[in-house]
C-alpha cells in the first residue's frame, strides 16, 4: 500500500471539485485531487463523439435509473467531470429558486447578493459569453418557431471563450481551473477511485483508494488528510458517503430533469457539430425546451425511439435534428450503495403529474418545431405516431405512457442537500456533513432541488461560496 499525506483532499474534479481545489490552492492550501476517471487532453477528443463517450463517460454512457419508466442518465468520469462532456450552457440560479430553497431548507447566507457575488467571480474567471455572431441554424430554428408562436426564447450564454476568428472553445475544468490549481501547487491523481473515507470519532482522517497506474497495474493508495471535500457528483458523492458509514438522509431526494425528445426533419440542412444555445423558456422552470447533440449516431437513436420506419429519415440525416423538452418533476429518487457492487443502485419513480408534464412537454416541443418549419416529427415514445401536421399532435397525450416513454437526463442533483433543516438535509448550509467536523460535500448533490436548467452555474457558484466559508473558518 502506498500512502501519502495532504492538507485537503478533494474527491472529484468536476464543476464542484475543480472550483474547490482552485480556490483552496489560491489561498495557499495544500490540495490533492483524486479523480476516478482518466486525465485526457481536452483537445485530443472530438466533442460528443463515440470516442468521447468511451473515454470520458461513466459506464460509457450506458446507465439508467430503476423505475417505471427507467430514466437513462449520463455523467462524466474524467478529469473535469461532466464539464468535459456537457454543452457548456450557463444559467445563474434564478432568484425565485434561491429564495424558495433558502426558506424551504433554511439555508443560511443564501441571498441573491451573496450568490450573485460568487456567480460574477466564477463567470469572470471562467469566461462566460454569448455568440459573437449569428446563431447556427439548429439554434435559430428554435428561436424562429418560438417567435412565430409568441413564446419566449433566449440565447443562453455559455462557458466559451472566442478567438480572433470567432472560434469558440468550451472552458472545461480540464482547460481552466484544474491547470490553475496545479500551477498553484495542487496534485491531481487521475484513475484513482476512492473506496471509502476513514473516520475516527467525529472526524475523517483520509481515504483508501484503488489507483490504476499508467502501466495498467493497480495499487491501494492511502491518503491522510486534515480535511476532505467530496465532490464526486450527485450519484457518486452519496454513494461514497454511504460506503463510509454516513447514512441518514444522504442519498435521498435525488432530483433530475426527465427529458423527452423529438427527432425533427426540416426542408434544409442544419449544423451538427455543437448544441443549440437557444432555449424556449415560455414554460420555464417547470418545462424547458432546447436542442440536443445531433451527430448522425444521436439522430439514429432518436429516430429509432418511436419504432416507426426511419431509414428514409436517417439517409436524410443532415436535415434532421434532435430537440428535447425537460421537466422539473415532483418525484425524487434514491441513491443506495450496495455492499459488493461498485456502482450504486439509483431509483427514481415519476408521478402521474410528471408523466403528464412530459406529455405536455412533448406536445409543446412538437408545436414549436412545426412552427419552425419541421415536416416530420419522430417522438421518443415507443409506438408514438410520426407527426406531420398540428392536428396529429394530440395523439401523443395517450401514446406517452409509463411503458412507452423513452426518457433520459443529463442533470442529476440533490442527493445530499444543504440547509439547517436536519430532517431533510445531509449537510449544513455550507456543505458540512452533519455530525462530522472536517468533511464537506461541495457539488451538485447539495442543490436542494433541480434547478430546471443546466446546473453547472449553480454548482460552481455554491461551491465557490462554500469554499470561502471553509477558508474563513478552518
Amino acid at each position: 500500500m502506498t500512502s501519502l499525506q495532504t492538507e485537503v483532499l478533494v474527491v472529484g474534479s468536476g464543476a464542484g471539485g475543480a472550483t474547490t481545489a482552485a480556490q483552496l490552492t489560491g489561498a495557499g492550501r495544500r490540495v490533492t485531487i483524486v479523480e476516478e476517471g482518466p486525465w485526457i487532453d481536452p483537445d485530443a477528443v472530438e466533442p460528443f463523439s463515440l470516442e468521447e463517450m468511451v473515454l470520458k463517460y461513466r459506464h460509457r454512457g450506458s446507465c439508467a435509473t430503476l423505475g417505471s419508466p427507467p430514466v437513462a442518465y449520463a455523467e462524466g468520469r474524467c478529469v473535469g467531470g461532466s464539464t468535459e462532456i456537457n454543452s457548456g450552457l450557463w444559467h445563474r440560479l434564478p432568484s425565485y429558486l434561491s429564495e424558495e430553497w433558502r426558506r424551504a431548507y433554511r439555508i443560511d447566507e443564501f441571498t441573491d447578493d451573496v450568490l450573485d457575488r460568487y456567480a460574477e467571480q466564477v463567470e469572470e474567471a471562467q469566461g462566460v459569453s454569448r455568440l459573437p455572431s449569428a446563431p447556427p441554424p439548429s439554434s435559430a430554428t428554435l428561436e424562429r418557431g418560438a417567435t412565430k408562436l409568441g413564446w419566449r426564447a433566449v440565447e443562453f450564454p455559455r462557458v466559451f471563450r472566442y478567438d480572433q476568428q470567432g472560434r469558440g472553445v468550451k472552458q472545461t475544468m480540464a482547460r481552466t481551473l484544474i491547470p490553475r490549481a496545479v500551477a498553484a501547487g495542487a496534485t491531481v491523481i487521475p484513475d484513482c477511485r476512492v473506496l471509502k473515507l476513514l473516520t475516527r470519532g467525529d472526524q475523517v482522517t483520509g481515504a483508501v483508494c484503488d489507483r490504476t497506474r499508467p502501466d495498467g497495474s493497480r495499487e491501494r493508495l492511502s491518503i491522510e488528510a486534515d480535511f476532505v471535500f467530496v465532490c464526486a457528483g450527485a450519484i457518486q458523492s452519496p454513494a461514497l458517503l454511504q460506503r463510509s458509514g454516513f447514512r441518514g438522509s444522504i442519498g435521498r431526494g435525488l432530483k433530475l430533469h426527465p427529458t423527452v425528445k423529438i427527432a425533427a426533419r426540416f426542408p434544409s440542412p442544419l449544423d451538427h457539430a455543437g448544441v443549440p444555445m437557444h432555449r424556449v423558456t415560455e414554460f420555464a422552470p417547470s418545462l424547458t425546451i432546447g436542442g440536443s447533440v445531433s451527430r448522425k449516431g444521436h439522430i439514429a437513436l432518436a429516430l429509432a425511439d418511436s419504432a416507426a420506419d426511419f431509414r428514409d429519415a436517417l439517409d436524410d440525416w443532415e436535415r434532421v435534428y434532435v430537440y428535447y423538452a425537460a421537466i422539473r418533476g415532483d418525484a425524487s429518487g434514491r441513491v443506495v450503495a450496495v455492499p459488493g457492487l461498485s456502482a450504486p443502485v439509483v431509483s427514481y419513480r415519476l408521478t402521474d403529474a410528471d408523466m403528464s408534464r412530459l406529455a405536455r412537454g412533448l406536445l409543446h416541443l412538437g408545436e414549436v418545431l412545426l412552427a419552425a418549419g419541421a415536416t416530420e416529427l419522430y417522438p421518443s415514445v415507443i409506438g408514438g405516431r410520426v407527426v406531420r401536421r398540428l392536428d396529429e399532435l394530440v395523439s401523443w397525450w395517450d401514446a406517452l405512457t409509463r411503458s412507452s416513454a423513452n426518457l433520459m437526463t443529463v442533470h442529476l442533483t440533490s442527493s445530499v442537500r444543504m440547509g439547517e433543516d436536519r430532517e431533510r438535509t445531509g449537510a449544513d448550509s455550507f456543505g458540512r456533513v452533519w455530525g462530522v467536523r472536517n468533511l464537506r460535500v461541495n457539488d451538485a448533490s447539495l442543490l436542494p432541488d433541480a434547478p430546471g436548467v443546466n446546473p453547472q452555474a449553480a454548482i460552481m457558484t455554491i461551491a465557490a461560496r462554500n469554499t470561502d466559508h471553509f477558508l474563513a473558518h478552518a
Binding site: 402521474d352 403529474a353 408523466m355 403528464s356 408534464r357 405536455r360 406536445l363 399532435l393 394530440v394
Partner: protein, 353 residues
Amino acid sequence: MTAPNGSTDSAPELPASAAVVTGAAGWLGQNLVRALAPSRERVRCLVRTDDDASLLSVIGPSIEPIVGDVRDPAAIDMLFDGVGPSTVFHAAGVIHPERSVRSLFDVNVGGTQLTLDRARRAGAVRFVHVSSNSPFGANDVPAGRFTEDSPYNPYMAYGQSKLEAEQLVMRSYEHGDLQTVIVRPPWFYGPFQPARQTQFLAAIRRGRFPLVGDGTQQRSMVFVGNLVLGLLLAETADKAPGNAYWIADARPYELREIFETIRAALAAEGLEVTERNPIRIPALVGSMAEAADKFVQGRGRYVQAVHVLGELKDTIACDISRARAELGYEPPTALLDGMRESIRWCLANGEQL
C-alpha cells in the same frame, strides 16, 4: 407582482361582444352559455362530441360550437380562429376521472396551458378561469373559512392539478400575457347536473346516502346560477384582474342541514321522501376511505365512490367577503330554492330521482 401590459393597448370594452367557453356542454358550461347567448354576438363553445354541439346549437344563433379535445392544439386554434376580442371562460376540466389519475393533469393542467396560450395569441380581453376548493384541502375546524389569502394545501391529485392550473393562470397574468381572474367555486348544485348529482339526490330521498360523522361539518356550496353571476362579474370588475375569488352561496351549510334541505326540497316538489334517517357512518370510516383513496391514487387509479366518501367527513367552507367587496357579488339564490330548481330540472328532463 408586475403590472400586466394587457393584451390590447386601449382600454377594452367590457363585457366583450364575443365569449369563448371551454367545457361548454358541462354542468356549469350549459348554464353559462345560456346566460351568455342572448347578449353576445358570438359564443364560441368547445365541446367533446357532435351530440354536445347540437345540444348547444339550439340555444340560439350566437352559439358557435367547436368539437374537439381541450388537449388538442389544433382544436384550440379552431376555437379562437377569427373570434376577435373576447372574454374566455375556461370551464373545461376533469373532476372524477374515468379510471386513471393522469388524465386529471392532462386535461386540467395541459388544457389550461393550451387555452391560455391561444387566448393570449388571439388577444383575449379577459380570461376567467374556473378553479375549485380542492387546491386548499379542508378547514382545520368546523368554524374555519377559506379566504383568498389561505395557503395552498391541495387535496389529492385533483387538488394538485387545479393548483397547477391556477399557477399557470397567475403566471400568465404576471408575465403580462392576459388579464386573468380565477374563480373558485365549491360543490355545485343546480340544473344541467350530471348523473352523479341526480344519484346523490335520489339516494337522499331514499335515506340511502350516508351521513359521515355527526353531520356538523360544514360545506360551502354554490348554486350554478350564483356561480354564473360570479363569472360574469369577474369578467367586468375593474379590480378583478390578477386576483382569485371564492364564489359560493351566501353562507356555508352544515352537512346535516344540506341533507335535510334536500329532503324538504324534494317534498316541496311533490316527491315522496322516506321517513328514515340517513345511515350514519363514523368519521373514522371517512378517514379510512380517504386513506384507501390516497392508496389507489398513488397507483394511478381512481375510484369515485371512495373519493367522495373520503371527502365527506371534512369541513370545506369559504368566505365570500372579497367577491362581495370587489366584484359586487351578492348571491340571489339559497339552498332550498336552488335545490328545488335542480329537482324541477330533473323532473322536466326525465331524470330518475
